[in-house]
Subunit: 248 residues, 2 copies
DNA sequence: ACAAAAGTGTTTTAACTACACCCATGG
DNA sequence: CCATGGGTGTAGTTAAAACACTTTTGT
């Protein structure tokens, strides 16, 4: 047992602390070729839950911020850097981890995987479809479900879809992102109008060539690209967008 | 220094962990008598930030969940139990606390103060108006600002206003809550219609007597009273309400 | 009777839905 | 020329805002 003498406010007596990250990316589904939601998991190489799949994560370094640790999770498992990163929730139930008490601060990230990143797969790192996951280690199923809910919720009012895409994109590609995440078809005509009504997207004078039909115009996202979302960003002057909907 | 030998995944090397709680209540303002937003703060009785006002908080007990600790913060400083309790954010910046690295998981609560609770004030516990706070200890100004933003944001789509009120209330009282929190007047006619359109509120056959004018009908909140809001509550079947708006 | 809040009705505006229709390109 | 997705127009529906109006009480 640890004995902490003379420690002010005895915070050192607290349970262990870890940072985990739910990483979302869009990949063409093996069947239809349409984009679908995927996330990378890592295989447990020790007890508890040896050999089960789990979210990338680990202890918080003394010299890194919470989001730094999350970005490190991401870099270590996928060699990608986050296009979007936001804190999800702190999970601290008593029975999350057999044996030891553990509090996990979980982030969620959107990335745009390139070929190199996908080749990163190995025996202990693998991408899964976000929709039908097997049983994961710890309470990670619950965590992923909540992250999925947040992603879908945020997709409905925020401008995060662009983080799945490159610097230029067609409106149909944006719609594909929405349809993949929300799992429902959207009216192309109305969707286009809603996007164009949004301020932070601008047409370029380029068109996507090589398609089978009329070449669609390419657009560019002009809002600032917030890689990381923090409370001060949320309630401060510049970002005039009015947050999330749907807690009970 | 601590020496941790043979500790799996070395989470014990992590920074200290504390739970703090932003507690909101409505009190009649000293001037106009209209309700305004208040919150209780505690005076620091040790370094750092000795004598400055701070959010109620403390270390997480080994045998309590995160929300248990938050409810304990609340009980210890105000002797009240939460009508509404939700996790706000985990703050973990490197320089939050001079000297030692500290991660704070912050909750926010709504309570309905009774006379006994307000008498609870002492040399080291005091209620302040949420709008004009002096400089607080640590990063607690930033935390309160974010909590305020969340409260206001959630007030605009969710059904949390009732947690400031008793079991029966007039529609005008609900409007006063909204006006106090959002700091802007609302049209009584339209506000009434919006409330009555909401499912979770039902008229009683009672009227509030003793007013200076026509006695208004009393209503009752019939939605379930979720004292605590957790991720599984949010994304699960029963609660069909569609979350928050406005992250960047 | 009058003041003031409780409560109702009506008009206008904005936003979204559904869907018909035209346009441009590869085959 | 035709199939197909890109892109535009338009009518119907719904929700909210603005505000005039009636009702009911205490004084």
């Amino acid at each position: 047992m640890l004995i902490n003498a003379n420690v002010s406010e005895r915070q050192q007596a607290s349970p262990g602390l870890a940072i985990s990250t739910v990483i979302f990316a869009l990949r063409p589904s093996t069947g239809s070729g349409r984009p679908t939601l995927w996330l990378p998991l890592v295989r447990r190489v020790r007890q508890p839950h040896l050999n089960m799949w789990a979210l990338p994560g680990g202890p918080l370094g003394h010299d890194e911020s919470l989001s730094d640790a999350a970005a490190r999770n991401l870099a270590e498992t996928t060699a990608l850097s986050p296009r979007y990163l936001e804190q999800l929730y702190a999970f601290g139930g008593l029975d999350r981890s057999p044996g030891q008490r553990l509090v996990s601060i979980v982030y969620w990230a959107l990335v745009q995987p390139d070929v190199a990143a996908l080749a990163q797969e190995s025996e202990n790192v693998k991408w899964f479809r976000a929709d039908d996951l097997d049983e994961l280690a710890f309470d990670h199923n619950e965590i992923v479900n909540y992250a999925l809910w947040r992603l879908r919720n945020k997709m409905e009012y925020g401008s995060i879809a662009y983080n799945f895409l490159g610097s230029t994109f067609t409106l149909a590609q944006v719609r594909e992102v929405y349809e993949a995440v929300l799992n429902r078809p959207l009216d192309p005509a109305n969707f286009r109008r809603q996007l164009r009504a949004a301020v932070d997207i601008q047409p370029t004078d380029m068109f996507l060539q090589g398609g089978r039909h009329r070449p669609p115009r390419l657009y560019r996202y002009t809002g600032d690209d917030p890689a990381e979302v923090t409370p001060d960003r949320i309630c401060n002057p510049s970002t005039i967008e009015s947050e999330h909907r749907s807690n009970p």
